[in-house]
Structures are given as C-alpha cells and as structure tokens.
Symmetry: C2
Amino acid sequence: MTEDLEPELPRGIALAWGVAANPQRGPKREMSVERIVEAAVEIADAEGLGAVSMAAVAARLGFTPMSLYRYVNAKEDLILLMQEEATGTPSAAVGEAGGWREQLEALYREQLFNHLAHPWVLDIPISGVPVTPNLAAWMDAGLGALAETHLTHEERLAVMLFVSGAARWAGSILAGYARLERERGLDGPAITRTEDAMFRSLITGDAYPHLRAAIEAGAFLDEADPFAFALARGLDGIGDYIAAAAEGRHDAGIPWQLPDDADIADDKRYREARKSVREAEKVLRAARKAERQEARAARDRRAKQNPAG
Amino acid sequence: MTEDLEPELPRGIALAWGVAANPQRGPKREMSVERIVEAAVEIADAEGLGAVSMAAVAARLGFTPMSLYRYVNAKEDLILLMQEEATGTPSAAVGEAGGWREQLEALYREQLFNHLAHPWVLDIPISGVPVTPNLAAWMDAGLGALAETHLTHEERLAVMLFVSGAARWAGSILAGYARLERERGLDGPAITRTEDAMFRSLITGDAYPHLRAAIEAGAFLDEADPFAFALARGLDGIGDYIAAAAEGRHDAGIPWQLPDDADIADDKRYREARKSVREAEKVLRAARKAERQEARAARDRRAKQNPAG
DNA sequence: AACACACTGTTTATGGAATAAACAGTCTTA
DNA sequence: TAAGACTGTTTATTCCATAAACAGTGTGTT
C-alpha cells in the first residue's frame, strides 16, 4: 500500500525528492538533471523565465535540445526543479534569532531576498500545498518559530502562510520595478519620477479624490518600505492573539471567517443594481473617452491651421 | 509641456485611458477594441490565459489573426486591457460599509471574488504603480476608507497595499486549487485528501518535525480560512496603530524598516559559512537520494525473485 | 564470448505561437 | 475625381515544445 503511493507522485515531484529510477545499462550519461537545472536557473536569473527554452538550456550545455528529454519528462518538470533549486532552505540563523517574532521576521527577510535574487520564481503559478523538500523546509522553519506559542497547528500554518505571502507580495512588486528598470534602462528614482508624472497627468481630483490627495502629498515619492509596515502590523496583531491564547481567552469574537456578504451578493435585485452601475460606468468611460478624443482632434486641427507649433 | 506627456504614455496604457487617436478615413471598422477584449476575456475565463492566442481571439470573432493588430499594437497591450476589464471597480456598497475596517474587509472580499472569477489576472506580472483607471479606482476606494483616520498618506497607501496583497495571495492559492481540481478532474475534498496522503508519505518527522506534527494534528484537513485569519490579525495591528496615531503617540519603536541584517549578510565569513551549509545540504540530499534509490532497487530485485508481489 | 536490449544523444518532422510585410479593396477629404 | 489613409487578408519568418525514428554504446544474461 505504501509502495502504491510512490508511482502516483507527479513525475516532477518524484524527481525533486530524488525518487527517480536510475538507469543501469546503456552508455554513460554525459549530463545530469542537476547540471540541466543549474544551467536553466542561470539563464532565468540573467534573462527571466521567458528566456528559458529547452533549446537555450541545451545550447548552454553544448547539447541538442532533445537530449534534455532523457533527463526531464517535460519542461514543466524542469521548471518545478528550477523553483526548488532557487527556493533553497532557510539559514540556520533563523532558528536562533530570539523569539517567534524575530524568527518570522528573519524568514520574511530571507524569503524576500530569495525572491529578489530569483524573481522569475514569482512567475511560476502556485498549485496546492508545498510538496517539495525545500518548500517544506521553509514551512517547517515557520512552524518551528511558533512551537513555543499556544497557537493551534492551524493557526501556526495560517501565520506562516501570512509571512510567506507578505514576502511574495513584496517580491512581486519590487521585482516588477526591477524589471522596469532593466527593460527601460532607467534607475529607480527615474522610474519613480516618471510614474509620479504619469500619475499626476492621469489621476484627476474629481475622479480619484483620495488618490489625488496622496499624490499631491508626495506619498508616491516616499522611500519608506510599505511592506515592512504591513508585516509589522500583522505581527503586532498576531502577537496580541498569541498573548490572548496564552491566557486561554479567545472568546472575544476574533473571527476566522470574514463576516459574509453572500446573502447580499446572492440577492437578485442587488445583483441587477450592481450590473446597472457597471453599465453606467461603461457609458461614462466611453463618454470621457470621446471627450478626450475630441479635444485631441481639435488640437490637431488647430495645429494644422497654425503650423507654428 | 502637458501635451508632451501624452505621447510618451506606453501604448497599452493610452488605450486603457481611451486616449488613442480614432481614424477618420478609410473603410468602416468592423471590430472594436472593446469587442476584442471581451472575446479575449471570455476565452481566459473559460480556459486560462494560456488559451488566449491572437488566433483564438480572432477566430471567436470570425476574423483572421492579423486583423487584430489594426486595433491593438501587440499581445501585451491586449493583455493589459483584459486585466483592466476583469479588474472592474469596487461596488458602491464598499464606501457605505461602516468604519474603515468594514470597508477594507469589503474591499478585500470584492477583490478576492474578482480574482476567483478571473484567476488568470494573477498570472499577469505586476509592473509598477497601478496606472490604469480601474486599478486607480480600487486604490482610491482603499484610501477613502482611511480618510477619517490620522494616518499619513504613506501609511494609508501601505495599508491598502496590504489589503490588495492579502486578496491577491489568497486568490493565488485558492485559484491554484481550483486549477488542480479542473485539471485533475477531482473535487476539493479529494484534492485535499490526496495532498494529505502525499504529505504523510514524504514529510518525515526527523527532517521536518514541526511540519510533521501539523500534518498529524490534521491541520491540512482543516476547513477554516487561513487568509481571513491573517487579514483579521493584520487589521487588528493596523487598528492599534490607528488608535495610537489618534492619540499622537508613535514613539513606541514601531519600525517602518525591518531591523537590518545587511551588516551580517555582507560579512565575508558569514557568507562563506552560509555557503558551506548549502554545500553540506546538497551532499546530504544526494546521500538521501542514493539511499532511497538503493531501497527502491532492492525492493525491485526482491520483487523479481519473488514475483508473487 | 556473444548477444539482446536498455539506454545514450541526435536528427527530422509536426503543429502552434507572435508578428513583419506586402496586398487589394474601401471610403474621406482636398 | 484622385490621392492616400485605412480596412481586413495573405504570405512568410522565426521561435517554441515535443513526438518519432535513428545509430551508436555498454551491461546483464546466457
């Protein structure tokens, strides 16, 4: 029965755990899965996941594209192994970093660092529970940080999920900026300034009053780290919760589920009203668009009659 | 000067704001950008972003692939417009939902709902600040929810970023499960059980003590919503912070930046030690792999000699 | 010792993708 | 009425992943 499970493992996952049959006969192998994955990761680090083609990886190793398929069943498996390689494991320092909060902060930092070093990992869609050795290692480290608390196992999972999510979210945004910098060939401040200028020209005070106010307050030019702020607030809340758990009081209506709007969302009339709003918005957008185009056309015409520019 | 900015807008963004020149001469247009985007969104909703090819979109409208390029400069632009379409705007109900916390929760719920309805949006990489009309609308709604608080504009942005990130993270994971269900043709509980079984067979107590403990406590079979938990804790922490801001006390060492490890990470010897650890881990993994393969081979041999199975 | 055949990396071929370039037809405007 | 801006189309290019058939190579079995 236990044996029956192994062959059912998705092929890539079996490879990641090193449970793939090793051939005994035939010519000596000239490559290895490890070398292939390494080459693929190098390409992805340098040029992004899009640049990782079977041909490119093979070329980097001096072989023909099809040769890789003797080691990897499909590109999908290669990508899973790349992710595993780039994910690595948390450093030993994490487990020795003071209390649960310091440990979680260290995990956040190391994960974020990883995401910035290998931003292409964020382009790989998530499917299901982390079922490779290195992903499990991060999970284990997070749960270990909380082992001394009185949280339930489910709550510990939720907390670790929160930390990983925070690192991933921060990584996504920051990697997005890094990509912009690389693609446009600008440095960080230049990007920020360009964006601020675009924002100022597009975000009007009547359509977006609060956003406009933030722009004018220079909030988008600020250099503070909004992700660190969010993490700190989250850990504050978790700390309160842990303290409450330690004292055995959790009656205070701290909800696991959000208050549900399903009754409203299912209401036919509400849905229709909502639909009307969408339609109206569409009409408004179309009207605004026409207005802008007219303005543009008028300007063009004037320019033609008055070619001074 | 103001005019100079417009032509510098990335093409797709210009389209999203409806600031694209409308041709006056030539034959009547048979399509429109809107119809193209609509068709593309329908395909993505049904079969994922991968199924959206220029050919597929054109076919759905009864035209040849190349015809689309008269309306859209490149596939990238089409995808930006699809994202904008699927993002929509927050409902009016959000702004009327009690205090800041209720409003943020409503925003979270609506965003998550959107992500589940159009999971392919999560496959589109983020680049830079939200610079399309609908993305700006969500941002504005979030800032509006916090308008009554004493937070700075930067802090409000950070809070809204937190909420959007939470919705996105939850959406990513849940959409991952939904995809698994569709691809494997299993229902939710079946997936959960399969994963639990895989976990039990792969996650050993000595390599992953805390994770193993969580598995045995049945934490992965639990049905509570870990994302709602994380959001609730985050909003708890934000609530404390807001209360403190209202009383003008923010001295308490609430850090915007995480305590920095850069001095450690830059230390040459630390880096070398870390590298050694990685190497050692690699060796360990290889050894474990060999062990497993030997076990497997031995089992195979025995099975061959003893074909009773 | 010899042979079968499991295995190697390679060649060739298929189908799909984005999109550049050139085309013939259509409608506006000068 | 003619130029030419604009339409949707055709054709061709380049890049993908990968299936299938190939000729060598080394091991286990006889």
